[in-house]
C-alpha cells in the first residue's frame, strides 16, 4: 500500500506533539468550545503556552501514530475513540476534518520541500480515513 511508505517517512513529526491542537484552536477558534476546562485560551500566545493543550497534542498525535501503524485496520483501531467522541465528548465530526488539514499544514511547515505533493496526497488519504473512522461510531 503506497500510503504506508509515504506516511512512514513522516512519523518523526509525531514527536512534535503540541503543535497541531494549538494551531487548530488559533486558526479555527470555534473549536475551543471543546476545551473550556483547559484554562487560558484567550489569545494565540496563551494557547501556544497552555500546558493542557500541549498534553492533549501529545495524546492526539499518539493516536495518529496508531493509525500509521495500523493502516490496514484503521476502522477497528479507532472504534473505541469513535464511541468516546460521540457519547462522551460530543464532538461534531466536522472537527476531525479541520484537525486533519491542520496536521497537513504542520507537516508542510516542519518538513518543507520534503513534504512533496505525493507525500501530501498520501497524508490527505490518511487524515480522511481517520476522520471517517472516528465518525463511524456516531449514532
Amino acid at each position: 500500500m503506497p500510503l504506508a511508505t509515504e506516511a512512514d517517512t513522516n512519523t518523526q513529526v509525531l514527536n512534535r506533539g503540541p503543535v497541531s491542537p494549538s494551531r487548530l484552536l488559533i486558526v479555527y477558534p470555534w473549536t475551543q468550545r471543546f476545551f473550556t476546562s483547559f484554562g487560558n485560551l484567550s489569545s494565540p500566545g496563551a494557547i501556544l503556552h497552555n500546558e493542557k493543550v500541549h498534553e492533549h497534542g501529545k495524546k492526539v498525535l499518539t493516536s495518529f501514530g496508531e493509525a500509521v501503524k495500523n493502516l490496514d485496520h484503521i476502522k477497528q483501531t479507532f472504534a473505541k475513540l469513535s464511541e468516546l467522541h460521540c457519547d462522551k465528548l460530543h464532538v461534531d465530526p466536522e472537527n476531525f476534518k479541520l484537525l486533519g488539514n491542520i496536521l497537513i499544514i504542520v507537516l508542510g511547515v516542519h518538513f518543507t520541500k520534503e513534504f512533496t505533493p505525493s507525500c501530501q496526497a498520501a497524508w490527505q488519504k490518511l487524515v480522511s480515513a481517520v476522520a471517517h473512522a472516528l465518525a463511524l461510531g456516531y449514532h
Binding site: 494549538s22 494551531r23 488559533i26 486558526v27 494565540p44 501556544l48 488539514n101 497537513i104 499544514i105 504542520v106 508542510g108 511547515v109 516542519h110 518538513f111 518543507t112 520541500k113 513534504f115 505533493p117 505525493s118 501530501q120 496526497a121 490527505q124
Partner: protein
C-alpha cells in the same frame, strides 16, 4: 472581516511570493490534482504531468490574480469582478473546489515560509482565501 493586523500579515508574507508566482502556482495546482483527483475534471484539455507548461502557465495566472486581490483587500468584489463573471458564466467551477485550492495554496506557503507561516499568518490567509472564494462565487445565482 479581515483585521488591520491580518491584512498586514498577509501583505508581509506575500513579499515571499513575489518572484515565485509561477512556481508557487504550479505547485499549488499539482498538490490539488494529486490530493483531490476530482479537481482534474475541470482540466481535461490540460497536460497534467509534473511541471507541464500548461500547469505552470495556469499556476502563474492564479497566483497573479491572488496578488491582485492582496493589493485590493478592501475592495475584493470590484477588483475580482471580471474573474467573478468568468467563474459564474463560463467556468462554473463548483465552489467546493475553491476550498481545496485554497488549502493547497496554504500548504505551499507552509512549505516555503516554514516557521514564518505561523498560526496567526495561517488564519489571516484562511480568511482571505475564503473571502476571495466568496467573491468568485457571488454571481453564480
Amino acid at each position: 472581516m479581515l483585521t488591520t493586523d491580518e491584512k498586514q500579515l498577509i501583505q508581509h508574507a506575500w513579499e515571499k511570493v513575489l518572484g515565485h508566482q509561477e512556481d508557487f502556482g504550479a505547485e499549488a495546482l499539482e498538490r490539488m490534482f494529486l490530493s483531490f483527483p476530482p479537481t482534474k475534471t475541470y482540466f481535461p484539455h490540460f497536460d497534467l504531468h509534473h511541471d507541464s507548461e500548461q500547469i505552470r502557465h495556469h499556476g502563474k495566472k492564479v497566483v497573479t490574480a491572488l496578488g491582485n486581490a492582496v493589493r485590493h483587500m478592501d475592495n475584493l468584489s470590484e477588483a475580482l469582478s471580471e474573474l467573478s463573471n468568468l467563474h459564474a458564466y463560463n467556468l462554473r467551477v463548483d465552489p467546493v473546489n475553491f476550498k481545496l485550492l485554497g488549502h493547497c495554496f496554504q500548504v505551499v506557503l507552509a512549505v516555503h515560509l516554514a516557521d514564518e507561516f505561523t498560526p496567526q499568518v495561517q488564519v489571516a490567509y484562511d480568511k482571505f482565501l475564503e473571502a476571495v472564494s466568496t467573491v468568485l462565487a457571488e454571481k453564480y445565482r
